[in-house]
Symmetry: C2
């Protein structure tokens, strides 16, 4: 295995020699996991084609770092070869001065397209589209259309879906290339075109991507407020969006922010930053549990044994809540559940929680009953039953509430639910204990 | 909002009328969230085109249920119109007898293709490919190839990527349709073809899908052990796989199994089944925490106050561990981290955990120190520092270990880490307390 950070020339030469032989995926892995300076070195020794392939695969912040480290003519070339949409996200990450300089390195069209894409807000689908669209006019004959496609295929992002626009670029419909090839030579494009699944450039990227996949498209036209065609979204862009959203959600459900670049190459303090805020928020809200326990401190002094079950009970509550939250969060994301289904969700989780609670409660009653006597057994049984039911409902509810108030359901979910269920669970636990044990 | 289960005719007629007007997405939502019998009713009133569109979008188990509920000539037609790969996953879910009957309803080719797909193991990519491939031979001229494509475009799954095969169907390479349209009429297909990114039909579906996206393909040839072409994987199939894997992972990281069908339409007991096993396993392993606390019971009797911080400490440990686990699990999935990086991961998490622990520890020391005095403050400070460090390492380690032993990293992660960190954290806590408070 390569050492953490080979410094001396010989090691770098070795790295370079090694690199020549490796497949792109391996190179990406290396560039991503080496310190920037070293990655740059490694990068210089790659052939132009390979270099571009590797560069395109890197996340934008990582590209930016590499650019700053490279400072070679190679850079201008790389930038020129990128798709406008990828270039836009890269420029976002670069220091304004550098972006400025590179922008001027581009030829007029490329520059125009890049600025166009850069014009849209960060999470808008306009940021991910390609402005290089090959369009047809409805009056074209199929023969001419085929010719037109053949002539312009080189510089279009895709030729497999062809938007049909009128004189003022208003989107009239789309024609699939397959359709165009099968049609009669004299037929008119206008007659072949069918209604297009489209998105507005300002639409949220995730919604647009989901619509893209739901319709099983290979490309989706992007229009402005006046239905004028401004670009086209291709499969790879849509997939990139989906992946980012999944990354974001999985990070947030565990109470951390997604890392801007590959894990191994992210500076330690950057990783800390992605976690510390959430951890503090959660720790502070966990003070609630301390206060709850303080209320019952005298009960604890009377029956210290009650303390033994605290982690088991809070843990079980948290798990039940998270199971429900994760299911509902996903159901929301894929549209299986709408906010208006809230009552149904609660009713389902109430029943599910009750069943789960009955099973665990029965088990808890028997086990702890055998070891610590009937009274404690009863307390445990009833507590598990109540906690599971409560936790399932809370878990099912939270994502819907978050969505309702316009927050990311993933954010509100798991860690918060655990903390909330901890506090509530403890109240339930000690209330039941007080009654059953007659404290 | 529609009632949970409208029963009377009038309501169903109403539902039907409503349905006519709705977009496909809405219909899918309705069919998914109504009881099967009702969904079937609703389904019957749809036009053939709409019906197929809706049907294709449903998850296989749901399709199966619908089929069993329908029993109309409509069914045979529906089955006939499905792609062989979708049909295969449907047949998996149907009772053997029904599948048998439907299989015989198909014409020879369709039947042959379906059985071919059904021949591969459940998670193999062969299950998701389409056997309907349009191929070219290397000796064809571009002119003939274009003609060939035009003739057979109708019944091919895709024409945008054309595999080139020799007499015995061995895959020689691929030609993109764009390339074919741009080439000279007299050029030979063999000269245009380039090396194909391919998968073996028996490859794991996720690996294949990731390779697909990494190479930004529109389609990927699938070959057998002898490199003979057996089918082609299209974007929509690859996306479906990605979505399923994400679903599975998100479910498992919360300690539950993914639901086979839409949340609202899954029977309560089926939901319970997807959660109960994990919940039991976790609850039982949580008995560990009870035993740990028993060891320190006398300490607790002496200083009951120590009990107050148990949920806060275990909670914080769990959160820190989950943050690390989620980051590493994802890094593994997208290939940013390999098992061989284990030492680097541990070293990173050790440092991250230490920093997080220092911040939280300092805070804990001040707050609890002010409220409960210097001694308790010191205990809390040191405990938080140690727990965060421990939890981060464990969280980073677990997914790698899981991967190493060939288990799904997602399964081993979050809930288990919480439980493990709870027990370990308590030991740390009381050990520190014993020393500092001189118990």
């Amino acid at each position: 295995m390569l050492r953490e950070a080979p410094r001396s020339e010989s090691q770098l030469e070795h790295l370079a020699r090694e690199a020549q032989a490796l497949p792109t995926s391996e190179l990406v892995y290396l560039v991503e996991t080496r310190p920037a300076t070293e990655a740059a070195m490694l990068f210089r020794v790659l052939g132009k084609g390979t270099a571009l392939a590797v560069f395109e695969t890197l996340p934008a912040p990582h590209q930016a770092e590499l650019i700053s480290a490279l400072r070679t003519p190679q850079v201008a070339e790389l930038i020129g070869d990128l798709d406008p949409d990828d270039r836009a996200s890269l420029f976002d990450e670069l220091p304004a001065a550098v972006a400025e300089r590179l922008m001027h390195g581009l030829d007029a069209d490329e520059r125009a397209m890049t600025t166009a894409v850069l014009g849209y807000p960060r999470h808008a689908i306009g940021r991910y589209m390609s402005p290089e669209v090959l369009t047809l006019s409805p009056s074209m004959s199929v023969r001419d259309a085929r010719e037109h496609v053949r002539e312009h295929a080189e510089d279009a992002e895709t030729i497999y879906l062809l938007p049909v626009v009128d004189g003022s670029r208003v989107l009239l419909g789309v024609v699939g290339l397959r359709r165009l090839l099968l049609a009669e030579e004299d037929a008119l494009v206008g007659d072949l075109a069918h209604e297009a699944v489209r998105s507005q450039a300002t639409d949220d990227r995730e919604d647009a991507a989901r619509r893209f996949f739901a319709a099983k498209l290979l490309a989706m036209p992007i229009v402005d407020g006046e239905e004028r065609l401004v670009g086209i979204l291709t499969v790879d862009d849509a997939i990139e969006i989906l992946e980012r959203e999944n990354h974001e959600d999985s990070a947030r459900t565990s109470g951390s922010e997604p890392l801007p670049r590959s894990y191994l190459s992210t500076p330690i303090l950057r990783v800390v930053r992605s976690r510390i805020v959430w951890l503090l928020v959660l720790a502070i809200s966990a003070i609630l549990t301390v206060q709850v326990l303080e209320i019952f401190e005298d009960r604890l002094e009377q029956v210290v044994i009650l303390a033994l079950f605290i982690p088991l009970l809070t843990g079980t509550g948290g798990n039940t809540g998270n199971q429900a939250a994760t299911t509902v969060t996903r159901a929301l994301a894929v549209g299986e559940v709408r906010v208006r289904d809230l009552p149904r969700v609660v009713w389902r989780e109430l029943r599910v929680g009750a069943v789960l609670g009955t099973v665990l409660g029965a088990l808890g009653f028997m086990v702890s009953g055998l070891v610590y006597g009937l009274a404690i057994g009863t307390v445990m049984g009833l507590t598990l039953l109540s906690i599971c039911t409560m936790a399932a409902i809370v878990g099912g509810l939270m994502p819907l509430v978050a969505k309702k108030v316009g927050a990311d359901p993933a954010v509100f979910s798991n860690p918060f639910i655990s903390t909330f269920c901890d506090a509530t669970g403890l109240i339930i636990y000690f209330t039941i204990a007080t009654v059953v044990l007659g404290l």
